[in-house]
């Protein structure tokens, strides 16, 4: 079978599936699926690439989960009942008062690395759920939310969302999650117990900038060949850890601004990292009106702008936290989507870019499957 790629795009008004051969020059666009609904995330199982999970929601009718068993050609609703384990209790509200934990939506779906029927869901208000029956039934891994710090967690501007789930490819009992605005957490026992892993983060928006929790982590990325090395895009600051999150240090280096949402790692080069700097936390658009990905080949600190094929004037889009992906073809492809509805691909690791589509609804998430 000839290698190909399938890009799964979640937008404010539906999901789209973009497919191409390995050249990644000519694309077929299918969709919208679930027209009119917000698709926060669509992701495929690494065990069975035709098994896709999609998070579908809107303010009127709430949360739905959809599953495809044929690569996105057809979909069926699966379970959408997310009930917190036990008495949910309270977390902090924006004004510091206690606020009841309330389920709002699923931000991120992370299929298991070993079983197509097992999938994790990161939700707002922040909690981690797991299904072991293909999404029909969901159980909370409540050791996370019941951590002693849980009652002090507070929402970021986008809500108190669990938006990042990373499963260690060498040890599936080790899982990392990130919550805005609580920080990063790790389990080493499959989700039963969790520890905050925020040592080294500094956040000026909280009373103690080096507190154990309270950090607005936007995204974490990992390379499968170096699972103890993680890269983080925090609200402000780009950081890395080389000890599975026990200690972080800043690698923002010469970035024009270190605010941003996405971060990802090259498929074959564990020290090659990508970010999209955003001007500031009050101006959610790219710096200088230029859409540029920044690449570090040194694991951070030294960054080069990549804008060949991207708009370099009058561009004021954002790239949201789940909207960058990396394929694993021999020549690594990099993908990202914008709030302006463009999805871009670089088939050569970031050197050259082209738009796959220009005019989708605002892009919430981008994932890519490399199909053998």
């Amino acid at each position: 079978m000839t290698p190909s790629v399938r890009v799964l795009v979640g937008t404010r008004k539906g999901a789209f599936i973009l497919t191409s051969d390995a050249a990644r020059k000519s694309w077929d666009v299918a969709g919208p699926h679930f027209s009119g609904w917000e698709l926060y995330h669509v992701k495929g199982s690494p065990v069975d690439p035709d098994r896709l999970y999609a998070s579908q929601s809107n303010s009127w009718f709430g949360q739905l989960l959809q599953r495809s068993d044929d690569g996105g050609k057809t979909w069926n609703p699966v379970g959408n009942k997310f009930t917190y384990d036990g008495m949910p209790g309270t977390h902090q509200w924006y004004d510091g008062t206690p606020h009841p934990w309330e389920f709002k939506r699923v931000w991120h779906l992370e299929p298991s690395l070993s079983d197509a029927d097992t999938v994790y869901a990161g939700v707002e208000d922040a909690a981690l759920f797991r299904s072991t029956d293909g999404g029909q039934n969901w159980q909370e891994l409540s050791g996370l939310r019941n951590h002693t710090t849980g009652s002090t967690w507070a929402p970021g501007a986008g809500g108190m969302c669990l938006h990042t789930i990373l499963i260690d490819p060498t040890n599936h009992e080790r899982i990392y999650v990130a919550i805005s605005a609580a920080g990063a957490f790790r389990t080493d026992d499959g989700g039963a117990t969790w520890k905050p892993i925020n040592h080294g983060l500094r956040s000026q928006h909280i009373p103690n900038p080096e507190a154990e929790v309270g950090h607005c982590v936007h995204r974490i990325a990992q390379h499968k060949a170096k699972p103890n090395t993680l890269f983080m895009q925090k609200h402000w600051d780009v950081l890395r850890t080389d000890d599975a999150g026990d200690n972080w240090h800043e690698v923002s280096g010469d970035l024009p601004t270190d605010f941003g949402f996405v971060i990802d790692v090259h498929a074959h080069e564990p020290e090659t990292v990508y970010v999209v700097p955003i001007k500031s936390d009050s101006e959610h658009f790219v710096h200088d009106g230029k859409l540029r990905v920044f690449r570090s080949r040194t694991g951070g600190n030294e960054w080069e702008p990549l804008g060949n094929g991207l708009p370099q004037k009058d561009c004021y889009v954002n790239v949201l936290r789940d909207a960058m992906a990396i394929d694993s073809l021999d020549e690594c492809g990099v993908y990202f989507g914008t709030t302006g509805g463009q999805v871009y691909v670089s088939p050569d690791g970031g050197d050259h870019w082209q738009a796959i589509v220009h005019d989708l609804p605002a892009v919430l998430s981008v994932e890519v499957q490399t199909l053998a």
């Binding site: 009119g36 303010s59 009127w60 009718f61 949360q63 739905l64 009942k81």
Partner: protein
């Protein structure tokens, strides 16, 4: 004056577009609704019947546990807004006997 409805009855339900899309139906639904404890078809028993026939709609109109109506969902019938009535309030006779549909409406929001 309302009349008691004592048997399972075929009621008509109109869903908003997004829920018709989800349930893969066009036009009105007709479901067999059972009477509630008072011997009358209520919002609760009517929606129970809808969700039993179309399980993908669970959670979209009301909370799955508390059965509380979702904030941006409204219930209309016979040119009346029934949204603020309790779930065990009988639906109008015209709905219970199929002369009028029960309307599930997405509240106008968003400009």
């Amino acid at each position: 004056m309302t009349q008691a409805v004592e048997a399972v009855s075929a009621v008509r339900v109109v869903l908003p577009g997004p829920l018709r899309q989800l349930a893969r139906v066009t036009g009105e639904l007709v479901v067999d609704a059972a009477p509630g404890e008072g011997g009358r078809i209520t919002q609760r028993t009517l929606l129970d019947a809808v969700e039993a026939r179309y399980p993908m709609l669970r959670g979209t109109m009301r909370d799955q546990d508390t059965k509380k109506r979702r904030a941006y969902v409204r219930f209309y019938a016979c040119q009346e807004d029934l949204s603020m009535q309790g779930p065990d309030t009988p639906v109008p006779n015209e709905v219970a006997d199929g002369r009028e549909p029960f309307l599930v409406v997405g509240a106008l929001a968003g400009g």
